[in-house]
């Protein structure tokens, strides 16, 4: 596999993990969280510190990334117990801003905007660094996707869906929103933590930029374009989000390579708006009758 294709596949898998974490909350509980990339950032910093500062083995780094992000998710869940809908969206936005400010300003821990460098890359026997990254992140992505599908079919998943469909009706049959939020948000944080762990070891540098609000809006738009409520929707959204800018390389606008992120922002901003208006269920989302984005 050429280095270019490998890097595109890795980008897809990284965004795929972030989209899975976002869709985990948005799909069933109808909670749109802008804190997903910031929680991934917590996982990435935890993995980077475990690797570079403490020289822990990778499995311990993964564990620390998952635990750190889940703990941050728990704090977010506590902060959002009394809010829903628009207010949850705003709480997650402010939470993400605080986290990104902390990444930027707690220089003794995070090394500020320069970030933490020299993180050990994945090394799967017989494979190059890039291919090892693809193998590990692909495995993580597949494992998380299967877990989410199984969870959604379980008793817990049905409770969350009930809560997302109608909070009052769910409360009447004994589903406690508080208890379910305290389970779901940390779990979404843990998934984001895995994304952060993969990011740290694949990219090799952890700095605040990839986890800011722009990344959150991109993940949100990928999931809406793909369709909320389905694992396949999140992955297709991530694939479209990564592949479309690659195709935009051939658009003759100035220096296409340097302007590619901007073109992606422009196209995805407009796509997000158009999909909301014309196809709110996204490419693969649940049908409107089962509850589309209108109620998200």
């Amino acid at each position: 596999m050429s280095a270019y294709i490998s890097s595109v596949v890795i980008l897809f898998l990284l965004y795929g993990l972030l989209c899975l974490s976002f869709d985990f909350l948005a799909g069933d509980l109808r909670l749109l969280s802008l804190a997903t990339p910031a929680m991934a950032g917590v996982g990435a910093y935890a993995a980077a510190i475990a690797d570079v500062s403490w020289a822990w083995p990778m499995w311990a780094g993964l564990l620390s990334a998952v635990i750190a992000a889940a703990l941050v998710g728990f704090v977010l869940a506590i902060m959002s117990l009394r809010v829903a809908g628009v207010y949850f969206f705003l709480v997650t936005m402010s939470f993400a801003l605080i986290l990104v400010t902390a990444f930027d300003q707690l220089r003794s821990v995070t090394n500020g905007p320069t970030g933490i460098r020299g993180i050990t890359p994945f090394d799967v026997a017989g494979l190059s660094t890039l291919d090892s990254g693809i193998a590990v992140s692909g495995l993580m992505c597949a494992a998380i996707a299967v877990c989410i599908v199984l969870l959604r079919r379980s008793y817990l998943g049905r409770r969350w869906r009930a809560l997302g469909e109608d909070r009052l009706a769910a409360a009447n049959v004994g589903i406690s929103r508080t208890a379910e939020l305290l389970k779901a948000v940390p779990l979404a944080g843990a998934i984001a933590g895995v994304a952060g762990f993969v990011h740290a070891h694949v990219i090799g540098i952890v700095n605040p930029t990839p986890f800011d609000l722009t990344a959150a809006i991109l993940v949100l738009s990928f999931c809406i374009v793909g369709g909320l409520g389905r694992v396949s929707g999140a992955l297709v959204g991530a694939a479209v989000g990564v592949l479309l800018p690659e195709m935009l390389r051939f658009v003759p606008i100035g220096d296409a390579v340097s302007q590619q992120p901007l073109l992606r922002q422009l196209v995805f901003g407009l796509l997000l708006f158009m999909f909301l208006a014309i196809r709110p269920t996204g490419l693969l989302g649940r049908s409107k009758a089962k509850g589309g984005l209108e109620q998200a």
Binding site: G85, V86, L213, Q259, G269, E294
Partner: protein, 304 residues
């Protein structure tokens, strides 16, 4: 020490008025259309670039002001049309916010493609000076911005209190269908409300562009502050939004002076988080309780 405190209080006062203006611009748009006008960030940046393109290249200031007012009004009305379209398509309030975020992202990217990411300054000679009052220094731009915002807020208060506009705005906010059945021209009210928002955007763009710099992302900061302020104040009231913005503005400056600028955004969003934990409806219920108590007292005085 005392002088430093007074200076920080004075700066905080001007900052509070600016943040209050930002919050009111979002609150007016939200009241009239139920859409949290997140794309205002792109309108602010567009307005500042228009000013640079005109006045920065030698056009007369008055012509520049007129041109950016027209451009801010026009951009706001385009976004209003977009939100109305989303609502007509059955998208709810949360979905419209997401759509507005999409428009903000697209707008910011378009501005960066058009103008590049270089930072420009809006500072004109008349903005640079300052006056001294008993040792307190007040910059010209702070005075001009605060005066303009207070004048616009007075005009808004005058229109909402002394005419039927305020009643129509509230009726649209509560139920646009019923308001239209009752004879309210919802489109006209929304157009006027977004024009007010546009006028405030012009002042905000000049204030932010002269205090900091003009970049495609310059609208993000006032947007975030505005959202925090209307949540702290309470959604659905212009006064509450102004109070929320004013409090955050004063805190912003005091934190900046005593603890350092790096903690400003953390402090503002920390307060927002605490408010959502303790008072999710914001300060609005407290303000309404005071207002209703005053009304009861007045009625009591009249009857006695």
């Amino acid at each position: 020490m005392n002088n430093l405190f007074l200076q920080s209080l004075s700066n905080g006062l001007f900052n509070g008025i600016l943040f209050g203006g930002i919050a009111v611009s979002l609150a007016v748009a939200h009241l009239s259309s139920r859409a949290l006008h997140v794309a205002i960030g792109a309108v602010i940046a567009l307005t500042a670039y228009q000013w640079l393109a005109l006045v920065g290249r030698g056009s007369p200031t008055l012509f520049g002001v007129l041109a950016i007012v027209v451009s801010a009004f026009g951009a706001n009305w385009v976004f209003l049309a977009a939100y109305r379209w989303l609502f007509r398509r059955g998208v709810d309030e949360d979905g419209v916010i997401v759509g507005s975020f999409g428009l903000l992202t697209a707008g910011t990217a378009a501005l960066e493609l058009a103008y590049g990411s270089e930072a420009y300054s809006l500072r004109a000679p008349w903005m640079l000076g300052s006056i001294s009052l008993d040792g307190l220094r007040i910059s010209n731009i702070d005075l001009i911005v605060s005066t303009c915002i207070l004048l616009l807020l007075f005009a808004l208060w005058f229109t909402t209190r002394l005419g039927s506009f305020g009643l129509q705005l509230r009726s649209i906010f509560h139920d646009i269908r019923e308001a239209e059945i009752a004879g309210v021209n919802a489109t006209l009210v929304q157009v006027v409300a977004y024009a007010f928002c546009g006028a405030l955007v012009v002042v905000i763009a000049l204030a932010i562009g002269s205090r900091a710099s003009v970049t495609p992302q310059m609208g993000f900061f006032p947007l975030l502050i505005g959202i925090a302020a209307i949540v702290v104040g309470g959604m659905g009231s212009i006064l509450a939004a102004f109070v929320g913005g004013f409090i955050l503005g004063v805190i912003w400056d005091i934190v900046g002076i005593y603890w350092g600028t790096i903690w400003q955004i953390g402090a503002v969003f920390g307060i927002l988080g605490m408010m959502l934990l303790v008072l999710p409806e914001g300060l609005l219920p407290l303000l309404q309780r005071r207002a209703s108590k005053r009304t009861v007292d007045n009625l009591g005085a009249q009857s006695s």
